[in-house]
């Protein structure tokens, strides 16, 4: 297993390199000069030059990249152009918010998706299958933020079961945290659970036709055992790949859903940063997201290896 992790880590090196180059070169692609962005029309020629020198913009681009990367690796992502806040600090404040939203919605998506997918696959064309299929089709067509609005209208405004807006940190009160995260997580998880349900169903139906399932049945193993052990283990192999992708999708979706519930997460930070062309902040956001995605991918690769012995390095 250690070999697998090391191998996957090595394979991630090109990815991380390219992402860092793309993120860095973002500065040079920007139509406006960062110095102009910060000083606006005001500052004098000398002020511009000084700032330019101070920001190291006169160095060759390769040197700047190495310096930037060196600082980034140590957790120094620079300071925001607009309020002189350290980017790392800002990100670290918001990260737990977005992360808890993403993880809870992923949990909902997996539980609902896998259960619905299996139920549908076991009895193709049955009522359950039809319901699951219709549900999945709708689930993928409903915008998460609209679903969020609907949930707010019903469960927060009308029934008052949950707060309409805001986020309570887990450390402060787990109950409040759960109440504040429930509605956004359901809104966010809907389309992913639909995607996972479809994938589980098709993988399960495919696996159930395999020879080794027939062979297990021929050995007289109980249906329950054949389905839950022999079929599900193999059906989860493609599902895990989809799951890894869905977590990326959820992370992106969280940025929008946060707006519905007025949650101060990375999304709010990102939208502000785009409007103000706050480059260090956007770079930081991209790096944090890629970092999260890399961790998720690594985890999925390991699970993938556990489920599928062929994927393990020999």
């Amino acid at each position: 297993m250690l070999r697998l992790i090391v191998q996957r880590l090595l394979a991630l090196i090109p990815l991380l390199f390219i992402v860092s180059v793309m993120t860095f070169s973002f500065t040079s692609l920007l139509p406006s000069d960062p110095v102009d962005l910060i000083l606006g029309e005001t500052g004098t020629q000398e002020q511009h030059e000084m700032l330019r020198e101070r920001m190291g913009l006169n160095e060759p681009i390769v040197v700047r990249y190495v310096q930037w990367l060196g600082r980034a690796v140590q957790g120094d992502l620079g300071t925001s152009f607009f309020n002189s806040v350290s980017v790392s600090t800002a990100l670290m404040q918001r990260l737990p918010v977005t992360l808890s939203l993403t993880l809870v919605s992923a949990l909902i998506a997996v539980v609902v998706g896998v259960a619905a997918g299996i139920a549908a696959a076991l009895r193709p064309r049955s009522l359950i299958d039809r319901l699951a299929t219709v549900g999945a089709t709708f689930g993928q067509a409903i915008p998460n933020f609209w679903f969020g609005l609907l949930l707010v209208a019903i469960f927060a405004v009308n029934l008052r079961w949950f707060p309409a807006t805001g986020f309570s940190p887990l450390s402060a009160s787990p109950v409040d945290w759960l109440r504040s995260v429930t509605l956004p997580a359901i809104a966010l998880g809907l389309s992913s659970s639909a995607a996972i349900a479809r994938q589980v169903r098709s993988a399960m139906v495919g696996v159930l036709q395999q020879d080794y399932i027939r062979a297990a049945r021929a050995q007289g193993l109980s249906s329950r055992r054949v389905i839950l052990k022999h079929a599900l283990t193999n059906a989860m192999v493609p599902v895990v790949a989809v799951l890894s992708f869905q977590i990326t999708v959820l992370l992106g979706g969280a940025l929008i859903v946060e707006q519905v519930f007025a949650i101060n997460g990375l999304g709010t930070l990102a939208i502000g940063a785009v409007r103000q062309q706050d480059i260090p902040m956007i770079q930081g956001l991209v790096l944090v997201m890629v970092g999260l995605v890399v961790v998720v991918q690594l985890a999925t690769d390991v699970i993938y290896g556990l489920l599928n012995p062929k994927a393990r390095p020999s």
């Binding site: 191998q7 090595l10 394979a11 090109p14």
Partner: protein, 340 residues
């Protein structure tokens, strides 16, 4: 003999590379480890071996589908191996192929006419009408008719599809057709139809075949010569009847002995002479030495150390086995002695 050969393969090596961690070329594996073969115009060479023997790699190298990693493949007066899969059109047109699976070897989106005349569109300036005439002619050669031209491959049975593949291979009147397991995906009752068809067209049109198959008996029916491959090496080569009736190399003998015959009584007798064998470990042998040595009942110490060269065998051909090192005639005598 190699002077008047149509196809002459010397020291052919075909290598595949695994993928390394970052997707670059990794570990090398030699599928063919220095093979020599020769086919005369209008003749059939049967190339026999079990899975993983490298027989299909030889076919692919001749067809230019994989590059040779050493050796020569002389075809007429050109060396195909030196061209690294980029054959000039006139050479391409002279070497055609029929593959094993008649279900995937025909493009499902094309009609029979398109499939059969594709080589003509690539290589000739024939008009559509001329091509159609030729297509009907070609279908006639494989016992299909004009009415089949507009149909798609999925409307045919396996045997018929293989006929279409053969018609397409015949379109440019090639000098050599590589037949890669042409009947092993077909029902027993239709296999012989295809074998007979191939045999008749060969004699009519003077085409040479390189016939790849795993079944010695089947190959024997239509081959002039037979070569037997084992783990990337050609261990025996010779006239078809001699190899089939008097196999020399211990592996060829084992191969023939393992094929069940249609006679329960004979099977009983053959069974009595052998015992239930445990499963063999996959041979993972050092590069030098005879590839068959760990399965060979006649293995000698020197088989470990040295790759046996090709020795002549009584009745024609060669065997890569030290048992035949003695002057011609004594080798087989010695083999009989050891067996007794």
């Amino acid at each position: 003999m190699s002077d008047d050969a149509l196809l002459d393969i010397r020291d052919l090596r075909v290598t595949y590379w695994g993928k390394s961690l970052l997707g670059f070329r990794g570990k090398a594996f030699d599928a063919v480890k220095g093979a020599n073969l020769s086919i005369r115009p209008g003749q059939t060479l049967g190339l026999v071996g079990e899975s993983g023997s490298g027989k299909s790699s030889i076919a692919n190298a001749v067809l230019g589908l994989v590059p040779a990693n050493g050796g020569t493949i002389r075809f007429g007066d050109v060396d195909l191996a030196a061209m690294k899969t980029r054959y000039p059109p006139d050479v391409r047109g002279q070497i055609q192929a029929v593959f094993q699976d008649p279900y995937s070897s025909l493009n499902p989106s094309m009609t029979v006419e398109d499939i059969v005349t594709e080589p003509l569109r690539v290589h000739t300036t024939m008009s559509r009408a001329e091509r159609r005439t030729r297509a009907v002619e070609l279908l006639g050669l494989v016992s299909l008719s004009e009415e089949h031209l507009e149909r798609h491959p999925h409307q045919f049975s396996g045997g018929q599809r293989q006929r279409i593949a053969i018609a397409s291979a015949l379109a440019l009147a090639p000098k050599l057709i590589v037949l890669d397991e042409p009947v092993s995906a077909l029902d027993v009752s239709t296999q012989n139809q295809i074998i007979n068809l191939l045999y008749e067209r060969r004699d009519e049109l003077g085409i040479a075949y390189l016939l790849i198959a795993h079944d010695l008996a089947l190959v024997h029916h239509i081959s002039d010569r037979i070569a037997v491959m084992y783990l990337g090496h050609i261990v025996e080569e010779g006239p078809s009847d001699r190899v089939y009736r008097a196999p020399a190399h211990p592996y060829t003998r084992a191969l023939l002995d393992a094929v069940p015959v249609l006679d329960p009584d004979a099977q009983r007798r053959r069974r009595a002479s052998r015992k239930a064998a445990p499963a063999r470990e996959t041979p993972r042998l050092a590069a030098q030495g005879c590839p068959y040595r760990n399965r060979c009942p006649f293995a000698m110490p020197r088989c470990e150390a040295q790759l046996p060269p090709d020795y002549p065998v009584d009745g024609g051909g060669t065997a890569a086995c030290f048992l035949f090192e003695a002057p011609a005639g004594q080798g087989s005598a010695r083999l009989r002695l050891v067996q007794a």
